[in-house]
């Protein structure tokens, strides 16, 4: 029997203890014998054929229940059951629950559902969303309301925009003036042709600091604007007490000059 078990395990590419447990479960479910199931798996035959007692293999070494003597007048208190051999110590440590995946008729007859329909629905909604939310509105810039706005940047200002993005300024500042009460005083509304929407985009998504779309137009007029911006970026809390602006003293002179030029172009 151990040879049959080993052969079956090899044929199935599965550890012997798993095969043994599975075979016992299959035998119990089908009302056949464990020996028959193992023989079938080892020899490639149907386990149903093993239900024929005439095909039962030689008895395995499991202990037979003690036969009751016929002269015993006492009634049977409990049914006699055939005990299974205890699992080896190693098998106990690595015992597994074997789940047979259905290959025949399932226990529950469910309606056959269309996978193609489900996948098509999912992908169709995705495509519809991309079209409706991104592609169509992005290409509908012929609306008179969306006029092309801001002038192009000089080379230095362009470099300054790169510094702005590299330092992550767009994470704390927006350049996106909206037609709402909260944005009154921030300057002209940001339209679709705005420079902040151009690639690489600087429109931002939250205001930890103020909106900068038209910041140059709001700087104090009695000061040297460039010097004011430079000083603020280098020592922010000395210029504005309690400011949440982090200092950028670590920027090189060239990067600072470019960044200042860019900020002053935001009007």
């Amino acid at each position: 029997m151990s040879e049959l078990l080993a052969t079956a395990a090899t044929a199935m590419g599965t550890p012997q203890d798993l095969v043994e447990r599975s075979a016992r479960a299959r035998a119990a479910a089908q009302g056949t014998t464990y020996e028959g199931v193992i023989s079938a798996w080892a020899g490639g035959q149907s386990s149903a054929a093993a239900a024929d007692p005439s095909q039962a293999p030689a008895a395995d070494p499991q202990p037979e229940p003690d036969p009751k003597p016929e002269s015993n007048p006492e009634p049977v208190a409990e049914p006699v059951t055939q005990s299974e051999p205890p699992l080896s110590a190693q098998a106990q440590v690595t015992a597994v629950a074997v789940i047979d995946l259905p290959t025949g008729a399932p226990l529950l007859e469910g309606k056959h559902e269309s996978f193609a329909g489900l996948l098509t629905g999912i992908l169709a909604l995705l495509a519809a969303a991309i079209l409706l939310v991104v592609v169509i509105p992005a290409n509908s810039q012929g609306d008179d309301r969306h006029i092309v706005g801001d002038a192009s940047l000089s080379a230095l200002e362009d470099t300054g925009r790169d510094v702005y993005l590299q330092q992550g300024c767009q994470y704390c500042h927006t350049q996106n003036v909206r037609p709402v009460v909260a944005d009154v005083g921030l300057g002209a509304i940001t339209e679709t042709g705005a420079r902040s929407l151009a690639d690489p985009a600087t429109f931002g998504f939250q205001r930890i600091g103020p909106d900068l779309a038209r910041v140059a137009g709001r700087l104090p007029e009695d000061l040297d604007a460039a010097e004011y911006v430079r000083e603020f970026l280098t020592h922010p809390t000395e210029v504005v007490e309690g400011s949440a602006q982090p200092p950028y003293a670590h920027l090189s002179d060239d990067d600072m000059a470019a960044l200042v030029a860019y900020v002053l172009a935001l009007r």
């Binding site: 995705l126 409706l132 939310v133």
Partner: protein, 474 residues
């Protein structure tokens, strides 16, 4: 010699064809990114309140910390956890072996490698400027490729299914594995300009946070709850209503990220209408799963995975409600561009997503590994993640509301040197958010330890093995 052996072991692992190996590896790798994301979130919030901290180091800037935090959470943790769970659930639901186990392993390894490179590039300042699209182009290409692999493998597995019914969790799995690469592609395709760039960004961010992460989390919940409670699903029609509500509205509602902006009015109206579908989806899902678990609340209290998933679902419903509300123009005019949306993002990544996804892992990994869950830290981890993440999100939502109301009423200025009054208004909320984020980060670390300890030193138990029984048994 040791290094060579390690290298061989890694290669063997990456090329493994053992059942559930890709699922296991993806899930375990995801936890590393959850911890990185949580730590970066705490640093990010500290930088808001203490901007001068480490001011000479560009890597410590708020922008870079935020980019590292969110990319780690969404693509590292969310991407790998959802992939691992998809690889675990699909064979069991479809009744078919996972197609191309070796490719699945390679894809998971590639995903891990590429996200790591991407985070390093952000730290070094090599980034693109769009939110959640900060990885440079080469990393984008690698990450997109690794995102497509799960979609192909799961689809091939379901096509080969032997189960007649397509179970509810499989709907979510299919949507999740296809939406992620699609959203990533749309959000990163170069060459857009003008309004298109802003819409591209809002579609991706709104889609990932408001639709995709809920999609993969709910799918995991639909798998675990019926199985762990040993109860049939309460209502399939309700499940259909919840799924198609989320699938049909989540992406369309993404435009509310930039409400009152340069987008056409009809698009903003579309976003407003569809955003109502988010709360429909959330309520339908919660009702269905609560109905499924009805009468099993004792089991839920005793079960770590069920408690986590239950907590995650409650937070998700709250987030969906606030996202829906934000869709209204009148609300957006107040809270738009404040920390309101940031609060919803942080509640998602610090509470809802970790609880749902790690909760599902707490159910799946013991089954795969044959180890009893080592849940000594679980109770504290769940409480810390749930309360820490939720409170962090809530504090930022409230500070956004306070800021917006201040601007609208003129109580605080929206620009100029007096802008410090705006930041001063929300100082307390920001400081408390740091503390609650610390608690959430500790919670996520504890839950990560629970999973890792289970995998490495949990008591051996019966594990779930899929054994193929061939046609010989007919």
């Amino acid at each position: 010699m040791a290094a060579a052996n390690s290298g061989r072991n890694v290669l063997t692992g990456v090329l493994s064809t053992n059942a559930d190996s890709a699922a296991r590896r993806a899930m375990l790798a995801s936890l590393v990114f959850a911890v990185i994301g949580a730590a970066a979130t705490v640093l990010m919030l500290i930088k808001v309140s203490v901007p001068g901290l480490f001011d000479t180091a560009s890597i410590a800037g708020y922008g870079r910390m935020r980019a590292i935090a969110l990319n780690s959470f969404v693509y590292g943790f969310g991407g790998l956890a959802s992939t691992g769970l998809a690889y675990y659930m699909t064979p069991r639901l479809a009744g078919a072996a996972l197609a191309r186990q070796r490719l699945a392993n390679l894809g998971a390894a590639g995903h891990t490698f590429v996200v790591t490179i991407g985070l390093a590039s952000i730290a070094l300042g090599i980034t693109d400027p769009l939110e959640l699209a900060e990885f440079p182009l080469l990393v984008d290409l690698g990450l997109f490729s690794s995102m497509v692999i799960p979609a192909l493998i799961v689809t091939a597995t379901v096509r080969a299914r032997t189960e007649r019914t397509i179970y509810v969790s499989l709907w979510y799995v299919l949507a999740g594995v296809w939406w992620l690469p699609a959203l990533y592609f749309v959000g990163n395709v170069p060459g857009t300009t003008g309004l298109g760039t802003q819409l591209q960004s809002s579609f991706m961010v709104g889609g990932l946070i408001g639709a995709w992460l809920p999609m993969v989390g709910i799918g995991a919940a639909y798998y675990v709850i019926p199985r762990a409670t040993d109860r049939a699903l309460f209502s399939r029609p309700l499940a259909q209503a919840g799924f198609w509500s989320l699938a049909g509205t989540g992406l369309f509602a993404s435009v509310t990220r930039y409400g009152s902006g340069a987008a056409p009015d009809w698009l903003e109206t579309t976003g407003t209408v569809f955003s109502l579908g988010l709360i429909v989806a959330a309520v339908a899902t919660l009702a269905n799963l609560a109905g499924t678990a009805n009468g099993a609340y004792g089991e839920i209290r005793e079960s770590t995975p069920l408690r986590m998933i239950g907590g995650g679902l409650v937070v998700y419903v709250a987030i969906a409600a606030l996202l829906s509300v934000q869709g209204f123009r009148s609300i957006d005019a107040v809270v738009g561009l404040t920390s309101w949306y940031e609060g919803l993002i942080l509640a998602t990544v610090l509470a809802a997503a970790p609880l749902l996804l790690i909760g599902a892992m707490a159910y799946a990994l013991p089954q795969i590994a044959g180890r009893r869950l080592v849940d000594g830290l679980a109770k504290r981890g769940i409480s810390a993640t749930l309360w820490g993440g939720s409170v962090t999100g809530l504090l930022l939502v409230i500070s956004g509301l306070v800021t917006g109301l201040g601007w609208n009423t003129g109580a605080v200025p929206n620009s100029g040197e007096e802008y410090v009054r705006t930041t001063g208004l929300i100082d307390t909320y920001q400081l408390l958010a740091i503390l609650s984020a610390l608690v959430a980060a500790a919670g996520i670390a504890m839950l990560t330890l629970v999973i890792l300890r289970t995998y490495t030193s949990g008591e051996a138990i019966a594990s779930e093995v899929l054994v193929w029984v061939g046609e010989d048994d007919e």
